[in-house]
């Protein structure tokens, strides 16, 4: 799809430099500044990159900063995992402002539902980076 700036203001997703790609999302997370996407039509906010709104299909999605602290929605401690993941670690669905994100809980830490957690670093598995959270 060609860019036609003469037609006025474009939705952010039409401009590749503005689009929230996995690479851009990863860099932001590594900088401790998590990013998501907000839908201009239905208002849904997602915590991971999409090409359009996952709820309503609108392409009017724009990149938004997410808070670095949030609340545990649900969690599980995993004992049987792929070899390189280790064992006895916790994952959690975390509400960061209006977005929800699956994060890894820092080794040795343990969280419960409704606990407040903070993004304190990142974790790499097989070339991909995700957020690490600790109870506050």
């Amino acid at each position: 799809m060609s860019n036609r700036p003469e037609q006025g203001q474009r939705a952010a997703s039409d401009d590749e430099s503005e689009r929230l790609t996995h690479e851009r999302w990863t860099r932001a997370l590594e900088a401790g500044e998590p990013m998501g996407l907000s839908c201009g039509d239905c208002g849904y906010v997602t915590g991971t990159p999409k090409a359009a709104c996952v709820r309503c299909g609108s392409r009017d999605v724009s990149t938004v900063s997410l808070p670095t602290s949030g609340t545990v929605y649900t969690k599980s401690t995993i004992e049987i995992a792929p070899g390189n993941q280790g064992r006895g670690y916790q994952i959690a669905l975390i509400d960061l402002g209006d977005a929800r994100m699956l994060g890894r809980i820092a080794d040795g830490d343990h969280v419960e539902i409704d606990d407040t957690v903070e993004l304190t670093g990142t974790y790499e598995y097989d070339g991909d980076i995700v957020g690490v959270f600790e109870a506050r």
């Binding site: 996952v54 649900t74 994952i91 699956l102 790499e124």
Partner: protein, 381 residues
């Protein structure tokens, strides 16, 4: 269908053990089959075998000219293939469709160790946003179930009762991989896999195959056997990753699929006599009972403890033993549920027969709670 357990024979030979008896049971000759829809999930990852449909079709003697295709939709694969078979005969594209699945994914049968098999099973999760933080197949259902426990007070003992009930049912099923009875104490003393699930909350790795034959409504009587009607079937998706799914533990795609299926069938959850649900983990059965409308939200734990979902209860669930006891050869599971329910509606289930069953429901979930197929079956009277 075959017994579920551990097999080392080629996929095509395994499937033949299910398909040839299914065609005989249906009164169908090989030359009658217009299309063959085959379910297999992990052949590529485990056995280095993809594009299995022509190979399997050739082995079981479906002549060239038969339309053959492989389906993959994680654990809902077999039901997805069934949906396409039903639609194909409904629209008149095909008259007779053989549909089924086969899977070889046991560590014992493949020589692949458990942690590596756990990695392969996790391939249904989003690589960047679910696999990377360490989510496994057990843990996505664990995340839903932990939230269910938080919201409704569901307990680990109630989860254990699901396993005890399904092993009791499986003890009456000669095809079951783990057909011995278990106690609540045994479940609660087994090691943690992904909290709150312990080993005995989880279905096993399984090998096996299953098959059914789908024909047009008006032609069904002409084969000289007792047909069962597919009264409704619906396939619905949920967002992936799970972080974008609305309100876990609602499993919203199951609710949509159930509504659609009941609309097609012209009956509701209160009219169902016997149900097979996708109990890959005990918590998954709890979520299923509520999402299907068999039990009100938050009450599936107590309903299980009260015995309502036992063979003798008012809503018998998983008379086969379910995935938990019977086993879960992924691509074969969907049509294995249909085999069980067809036999139930025909009154052929022996010791585990739910008496006077005329309406049945199957629930098959795939991937990280991202796909569901719900099927309603009805006996001809």
């Amino acid at each position: 269908m075959t017994d579920f357990g551990v097999y080392t024979k080629p996929i095509a030979e395994l499937f033949a053990d299910a398909a040839l008896p299914a065609m005989e049971d249906a009164g169908i000759e090989n030359g009658d089959v217009d299309a063959f829809y085959f379910g297999n999930v992990l052949g590529g990852a485990i056995l280095n075998e993809t594009h299995l449909a022509p190979q399997v079709a050739s082995h079981i003697g479906l002549p060239p000219g038969t339309s053959v295709q492989r389906y993959e939709d994680a654990c809902a694969t077999g039901s997805l293939a069934l949906k396409h078979a039903v639609r194909a005969v409904e629209t008149g594209e095909h008259d007779v469709v053989l549909v089924g699945g086969a899977e070889r994914c046991t560590p014992a049968g493949t020589g692949i160790e458990t942690s590596e098999m756990t990695r392969i099973f996790g391939s249904g999760a989003h690589r960047q946003y679910e696999q990377a933080p360490g989510m496994t197949t057990a843990s996505v259902f664990a995340l839903h179930t932990q939230r269910h426990m938080h919201e409704y007070g569901t307990t680990e003992e109630q989860l254990a009762e699901v396993a005890v009930k399904n092993h009791y049912h499986g003890s009456m099923n000669s095809r079951a991989q783990f057909g011995e009875e278990k106690t609540v104490e045994e479940v609660l003393e087994s090691p943690v896999i992904a909290s709150p699930f312990r080993l005995l909350d989880c279905c096993p790795f399984s090998d096996g195959a299953s098959a059914v034959v789908v024909v047009g409504e008006s032609a069904a009587e002409s084969y000289g056997v007792e047909p069962v009607d597919v009264a409704g079937i619906s396939h619905q998706a949920n967002a992936s990753p799970v972080a974008d799914q609305p309100n876990p533990p609602s499993t919203e795609m199951v609710r949509r699929a159930a509504r659609d299926t009941f609309d097609q069938a012209g009956f509701g959850p209160g009219d169902v006599d016997v149900t097979e649900v996708h109990d890959c983990f005990t918590g998954a059965e709890i979520l299923a009972l509520e999402a299907l409308g068999l039990v009100e939200d938050g009450r599936a734990g107590p309903a299980t403890v009260q015995g309502r979902t036992r063979l003798t209860g008012d809503i018998p669930v998983n008379p086969s033993g379910g995935l938990k006891s019977k086993g879960h050869p992924i691509g074969a599971t969907g049509t294995a549920q249909i085999v069980e329910l067809t036999e139930q509606l025909r009154g052929e289930s022996g010791e585990r027969q739910v008496e006077d069953s005329t309406r049945a429901l199957a629930h098959n979930v795939g991937g990280m709670t991202a796909t569901a197929v719900v099927t309603a079956l009805e006996a001809r009277t």
